[in-house]
């Protein structure tokens, strides 16, 4: 993993001091609410319904165990002893008091962590595949490029006051696991005749106006990546709408201009930047690539005969992933379960996961955009022991990619934007569907819940998507099906009129019954949906309502 240099550390120290001074000026009245707002947001601090929420950056989802233990310690000392993994691979603290935030930033800086640009109208944390560097189908490890983008975008003087937030995702695999089609800019790394380059997508995004990204350029040599990104951001900063925050994302600009005119504008801007100081040299790229070279894998591992415990085997088939290194697998620890919000993890669990990462996975772990933790480099022969340990801590219960691994935003219990409380709905679904055999037999189903149109729960790309809507002050939930992430990313179709929170488990059950009833052997939910269409699902859900 990338190790912070003196300059990176100095920057964090300066930033912590800067924010301390800004907070002091806010608290003594020198800065108004309005003046303080962009400053605190660019340090990840939201003022919420209850206490503020602080979002901690986890660049491209990668952490060492010292950092994980520090998050645990901070959550105990300054918060309620738990943290939350967001759908953009960051950590959130839900209850820190404003006066402690500068101190939290200092504590974070001690382990090379920060909250820079985790909110606000700036370039946000760059995200990638949680299996980066280990995925069996990987063409290029995206992490060096993510780190390059992190450095370029950190405190970039020109792009801190964009029309709206700006999110970049990078994928280096045949299968897109980074949702690059749902980002302001999506980068698909490629290789052509031995040269590293990428395909660039623009204008994807969820939110109120969900759009699948459009190809801006099919091939860009990697040496031009940063100057090209700078050109894109410059066009967006100059021309993006600022009169209406709901029409301010780059997707609206791209749609208004048309992709060809937008591309022309980027090319005109790029003409002045191309081959300039941002041009990536081998001397610049190689140390980054070296920082992410593989850990000391054992190459002489004997073939492993897996334990025959059926519950273990079920977990093995769903929660572990093929690895590019023979004898190893990547493991997903699902942070979903009864009584807590999806993605919530207690300080004790964080310490436990850090111990596991030290024992089983070279002292590193990852956050995933499915709000889970990934141990990327586990020896196959250690899997049963790992599973037993996870079981003892209640962390081997949920199946990755099943209904029990549902994604949800924090919703109206915490967020001032939300129309509806998404967590009780998530909890009701967990309670209704807690039979592990049934969940396993259903196969992969992605269920996503967002408390409002801002779509932090990515409901548009859930196989089953649930969206909280406000109708005359009462909360309702709209259900869509058929959405998906990956190379065939698509926006789900709305079933019909919305439901009350209490109806949702019943509605989900009807969708599942319809699926089971119609499925061909080995078919997944989304395959059945593609074959039979929305109508049978619609009929099943709304038929009984008319009785």
């Amino acid at each position: 993993m990338y190790h912070y240099q003196a300059a990176d550390r100095q920057l964090l120290q300066d930033r912590a001091n800067q924010f301390k001074d800004q907070t002091r000026r806010f608290l003594n009245g020198e800065l108004s609410d309005e003046a303080f707002r962009p400053l605190r947001l660019q340090n990840g601090l939201y003022f919420q319904r209850q206490e503020p929420m602080l979002r901690i950056a986890v660049p491209y989802g990668l952490m060492n165990t010292t950092q994980v233990r520090q998050i645990a310690a901070i959550s105990r000392r300054f918060d309620k002893g738990y943290a939350h993994v967001s759908t953009r691979q960051n950590f959130q603290l839900n209850w820190p008091s404003l006066e402690y935030v500068p101190q939290i930033l200092e504590e974070l800086a001690k382990v090379d962590m920060h909250c820079i640009q985790t909110s606000g109208n700036c370039i946000r944390n760059t995200t990638t595949d949680a299996l980066a560097g280990v995925a069996h189908d990987e063409i290029i490890d995206p992490r060096p490029i993510c780190e390059l983008i992190r450095q370029w975008s950190t405190l970039h003087p020109e792009f801190a006051y964009l029309p709206r937030k700006f999110k970049i995702a990078v994928s280096g695999s045949a299968d897109d696991r980074a949702a690059i089609y749902a980002h302001d800019v999506g980068i698909a790394l490629q290789e052509r005749a031995g040269e590293l380059g990428c395909r660039v997508l623009v204008g994807g995004g969820l939110g109120r106006t969900p759009v699948i990204g459009t190809e801006l350029v099919p091939w860009l040599p990697i040496k031009h990546l940063l100057s090209y990104l700078e050109a894109i951001l410059r066009v967006y900063n100059a021309l993006g709408r600022r009169d209406n925050k709901y029409k301010a994302r780059i997707k609206i600009l791209v749609r208004a201009m048309g992709i060809d005119a937008f591309r022309d504008a980027v090319d005109r801007e790029w003409a002045g930047l191309r081959n300039g100081e941002l041009t990536l040299t081998a001397e610049r790229l190689e140390p980054l690539q070296k920082a992410f070279s593989p850990p000391a894998y054992k190459t002489d591992l004997p073939p492993t005969e897996m334990h025959s415990n059926p519950i273990f085997l079920r977990w093995l088939s769903r929660n572990t992933h093929e690895h590019k290194q023979p004898g190893y697998r990547a493991v997903t620890v699902v942070l979903k379960g009864h009584g807590s919000a999806p993605g919530d993890v207690t300080a004790d669990q964080l310490d436990f996961l850090a111990d596991l990462a030290d024992d089983f996975s070279f002292g590193q772990l990852r956050t995933s955009h499915e709000q889970n933790i990934v141990l990327a480099d586990v020896e196959e022969r250690a899997l049963y022991r790992l599973w037993e340990t996870l079981q003892q801590h209640g962390l081997a219960w949920a199946l990755a990619g099943s209904l029990s691994d549902l994604i949800s935003c924090p919703g109206g219990d915490f967020c001032s934007l939300a129309n509806a409380r998404s967590l009780p709905v998530a909890e009701a679904i967990h309670q209704r569907f807690d039979d592990a055999d049934y969940l396993f037999d259903l196969g992969p189903i992605e269920l996503n819940i967002s408390g409002c149109m801002n779509a932090c729960g990515h409901h548009h790309i859930g196989h089953i998507g649930i969206l909280g809507v406000d109708k005359k002050g009462r909360e309702f939930f709209q259900v869509s099906i058929g959405g998906r992430q990956g190379n065939k990313a698509a926006i789900g179709k709305i079933l019909g009129p919305s439901f009350s929170a209490d109806d949702i488990p019943e509605v989900v059950e009807k969708l599942l019954v319809t699926f089971v009833h119609n499925r061909l052997p080995e078919e997944t939910f989304i395959q059945t949906y593609d074959r039979i269409g929305i109508t049978p699902f619609k009929e099943a859900v709304y038929a009984s309502a008319t009785h």
């Binding site: 300059a7 990176d8 100095q10 920057l11 300066d14 930033r15 001091n17 800067q18 001074d21 800004q22 003046a35 962009p38 400053l39 109208n121 450095q151 370029w152 950190t154 405190l155 970039h156 003087p157 020109e158 792009f159 801190a160 006051y161 964009l162 029309p163 410059r234 900063n237 100059a238 600022r242 002045g272 930047l273 300039g276 100081e277 941002l278």
Partner: protein, 154 residues
């Protein structure tokens, strides 16, 4: 400090320019606005707003010695790109920020090519000098060289 205008009845309607700005917005109306300058195309000093498209300026940039960019509001980030673009097309003169930018933006503005600031109200030169040095390292290559900064208090 401009004189405080307390009696609206007695105040004549202020002269405003084509941005709707009046002299008491701390704007020097004797300097031509971008559109006024365009009709003459020979002055060496001009005022630009964040909404102007400065492309026509490029051909004349060598004869321009002073550009003032007026920020209508502190969240309007177009001024940052405008500053960079002016420097990119070869503007070497004084680039002044005026209007409603925030003091915590001073360092970013400097790094985008501004070297002259009409400071926000209640910000003195000493505070401004500290804010200009808030972050001591940069992770982006800089195309703009170190230069003297002009600070003016209101």
């Amino acid at each position: 400090m401009p004189a405080q205008l307390t009696d609206n009845e007695a105040t004549p309607i202020a002269q405003t320019d084509d941005y709707g700005l009046a002299a008491n917005d701390a704007v020097n109306l004797s300097i031509p606005s971008f559109s006024e300058w365009l009709t003459q195309q020979n002055g060496s000093r001009l005022r630009v707003s964040t909404a102007d498209d400065i492309a026509p300026l490029e051909a004349f940039i060598a004869s321009v010695s002073y550009v003032e960019i007026y920020f209508l509001d502190s969240n309007d980030g177009r001024g940052f790109t405008l500053g960079r673009r002016l420097r990119d097309i070869g503007f070497t003169g004084e680039l002044r920020a005026t209007g409603a930018y925030a003091e915590d933006q001073l360092q970013y503005l400097y790094r985008c090519g501004f070297d002259s600031f009409l400071l926000p109200p209640a910000v003195n030169k000493e505070t401004a000098s500290e804010l200009l040095r808030a972050i001591s390292v940069t992770l982006q290559p800089s195309t703009i060289s170190e230069r003297q900064v002009i600070l003016s208090e209101r």
